[in-house]
């Protein structure tokens, strides 16, 4: 069934075209099996809402955690199942009447997203770090997000032992959106998916237990800028639609490279107008670059990362990047391959300023979360280098990098949640001085993550970086590789600075303590370390995986 069918379905329903009213109505066919991962998660999310409504408060936390974990696990199982059925390879196809692609990249990214969300959810559910208030274990989310910080209402809420268990369904919704995002095969789905995973994130940012003002500020900034960017994205969609007369990737691609079957006069008119295509493509690109946090669309990143509750930051930093880059890849490889030569210079520029900008500004950061934010920007730049490679190796290298990066990120932020003092997490770097003396293990783990970020050999970071740079060099982007290594050198500086701080400087008397987490967070961190070392020493298996998943269906 052709990719544009779903729309012709609507058109016939609308009856504007030649088809007479009351003509045969073909019901849309939805391949539920192939959409299983998404459906499971969405379903679980809806269930979660119901849980909020009907399950007594005491049991909610447990129920929600269980539900979420089970749902994600099931979704992952479904992904694995699909991959096993060869949807990643030979019988990759397009489901839901052209709305969603089920192919290698989609499944790989969905798998990654699900695993990452799984470990992130563990940190969401962590309740051992903050001292129990009024005998109730508390997590890092506000007792009652609505209540004014410091007000009697809040005190009462805390006393009553309220907790915002809504975060779990919210996370699930967001995950659902992320699952669709890289698989979206028409612009409408893309837009909807974007909103579906963004909106819950806006909320999640706002519900920190500590430092609520910053948390809310982060939410506002994230929300406004996010909405702003999605407006651009939407306008881009509009223009592309105007250019091609369709919003399905394949359809647009056909129009762009002029292999379209029947050309009606209107289409002929707009097809001639490259401005529509170029401006639309650029705006679409901008929408996605905003989500991956590329310069100059990055400015929300540091503030939001810093303000949001750290577990959310970790989730956001890891999963969002994966989803957004997935979508970006699909867009560039499926929709606009015809535009490669027009977009390449622009992408080069963006990649360069992103790598350098992120690395340079990070040097003078004093807050660990902001530091990681800028480092994530720099990494976005590295990944872009792989995206630009415009080759199957490029795709698989990016997939691999995303997998590597996301786990390390979640792990790193999980460690950040452990270092606490009187008023919550001690994120100011000066407080990390001498951490290595006080709790060598934590410091060592964090050092491992930092070294992986820095791309030191024998860590996963190096494997990823090497894969991406290699692909870029192969794809004729040697210049980017040089810029890449230079900015890695700059970046090394601030990672090293943190290590110096932790190990070589004397601990402060009023320094923070390292909380002993529950098995949940421990798992998150352990997974991070494991991935870092395994993919650093023997990445071959996962490179193969990414390699097989490197082909998009059209």
């Amino acid at each position: 069934m052709s990719a544009t069918a779903v729309h012709s379905l609507w058109t016939t329903a609308g009856g504007v075209t030649s088809a007479a009213p009351g003509d045969k109505f073909t019901a849309p066919t939805i391949e539920y099996a192939q959409l299983a991962p998404v459906l499971i998660v969405v379903g679980a999310a809806v269930l979660g809402i119901l849980v909020e409504a009907f399950v007594p408060r005491r049991a909610r936390y447990t129920t929600q955690v269980l539900l979420t974990v089970v749902a994600i696990a099931a979704a992952f199982a479904a992904v694995v199942g699909l991959a096993a059925d060869g949807y990643a390879g030979e019988n990759a196809n397009i489901a839901a009447m052209g709305a969603v692609a089920v192919d290698g990249p989609a499944l790989f990214l969905q798998g990654t997203i699900l695993l990452v969300s799984m470990v992130s959810v563990f940190t969401f559910a962590e309740r051992r770090l903050d001292p129990a208030s009024h005998g109730n274990r508390v997590d890092s989310f506000a007792a009652q997000a609505g209540s004014v910080p410091g007000s009697d209402g809040e005190k009462a809420a805390v006393k009553a032992g309220f907790t915002t268990t809504e975060v779990f369904p919210l996370a699930l919704f967001s995950v659902a959106g992320m699952l669709v995002f890289p698989a979206a095969n028409d612009l409408l789905t893309l837009f909807v998916a974007l909103e579906v995973f963004s909106l819950p994130l806006y909320l999640l940012c706002a519900v920190a237990r500590r430092k609520r003002l910053m948390s809310q500020e982060a939410a506002v900034k994230y929300f406004l800028l996010g909405a702003f960017s999605s407006a651009f994205l939407l306008f881009g969609i509009a223009l592309l639609y105007g250019y091609a007369g369709t919003v399905s990737y394949a359809g647009i691609a056909h129009v762009v490279d002029g292999t379209v079957q029947q050309i009606d006069p209107a289409l002929a008119g707009t097809m001639g107008n490259d401005a529509l295509l170029l401006i639309g493509g650029a705006m679409l690109l901008m929408g996605l670059l905003f989500k991956v946090g590329a310069v100059p669309f990055h400015m929300w990143t540091p503030d939001v990362y810093q303000g949001a509750p750290t577990p959310v930051t970790g989730f956001m930093a890891a999963a969002t990047k994966v989803a957004a880059f997935g979508a970006l890849l699909r867009l560039l490889y499926v929709v606009l391959p015809g535009l490669t030569w027009d977009l390449r210079p622009v992408m080069w520029g963006v990649a360069i300023v992103t790598m350098l900008g992120g690395a340079i500004v990070a040097i003078t950061q004093t807050d660990i979360k902001r530091l990681l934010a800028y480092s994530s920007i720099a990494h976005a730049g590295f990944i872009l280098a792989g995206v630009i490679a415009a080759s199957p190796e490029g795709v698989s290298s990016v997939l691999f990098y995303l997998g590597v990066y996301s786990f390390v990120t979640v792990g790193a932020f999980a460690v950040v949640t452990l270092v606490r003092d009187a008023d919550g997490e001690a994120t100011h770097l000066s407080k990390w001085a001498g951490l290595g003396r006080r709790s060598p293990l934590t410091a060592a783990v964090f050092a491992v993550f930092l070294l992986s970020f820095a791309g030191i050999p024998l860590t996963s970071g190096f494997s990823g970086k090497f894969a991406v740079f290699k692909a870029a060099a192969d794809g004729g982007a040697g210049g980017l590789v040089v810029v890449g290594v230079v900015s890695s050198a700059i970046a090394a500086f601030f990672y090293v600075r943190v290590i110096v701080l932790m190990f070589f400087s004397e601990p402060k008397a009023d320094g923070p303590t390292v909380a002993v987490p529950s098995p949940l967070t421990m798992t998150t961190i352990a997974v991070g370390v494991a991935v870092t070392l395994v993919l650093g020493l023997a990445p071959q298996y996962f490179l193969d995986l990414a390699g097989q998943a490197g082909v998009f269906v059209r």
């Binding site: 406004l224 407006a231 306008f235 303000g307």
Partner: protein
């Protein structure tokens, strides 16, 4: 009337909305400007839909409205809670985090 004019109008609205976002302080107003941009998109979509003689654009417009509505819910929630804790809806006041 040439449907292209609608596109000019859409672009105009979009620009107005965008500049509103850049200029206005009050979060609510900023938000409204964003809505305006979305509407501009809708206008463009519908216009194009008309040009191409298929309804995709109009369908998307509907989706957009729904999404916008959802955004309103979330957005207002956030802005209101911000307002309650700061007694100000100015986006410039919310600048604890910088540098």
């Amino acid at each position: 009337m040439n449907p292209v004019n609608y596109l000019y109008l859409a672009a105009l609205l979009f620009t107005i909305g965008a500049s509103g976002v850049l200029i206005r302080r009050n979060a609510i107003v900023v938000f409204m400007c964003i809505e305006l941009m979305l509407n501009a998109c809708n206008l463009a979509l519908v216009a194009f839909s008309r040009m191409h003689g298929n309804l995709d654009g109009q369908i998307i417009a509907f989706f957009t409205m729904v999404v916008a509505a959802a955004e309103v819910v979330i957005g207002l929630a956030i802005i209101v809670s911000l307002f309650r804790s700061r007694h100000s809806a100015s986006v410039d006041d919310a600048s604890l985090m910088k540098l």
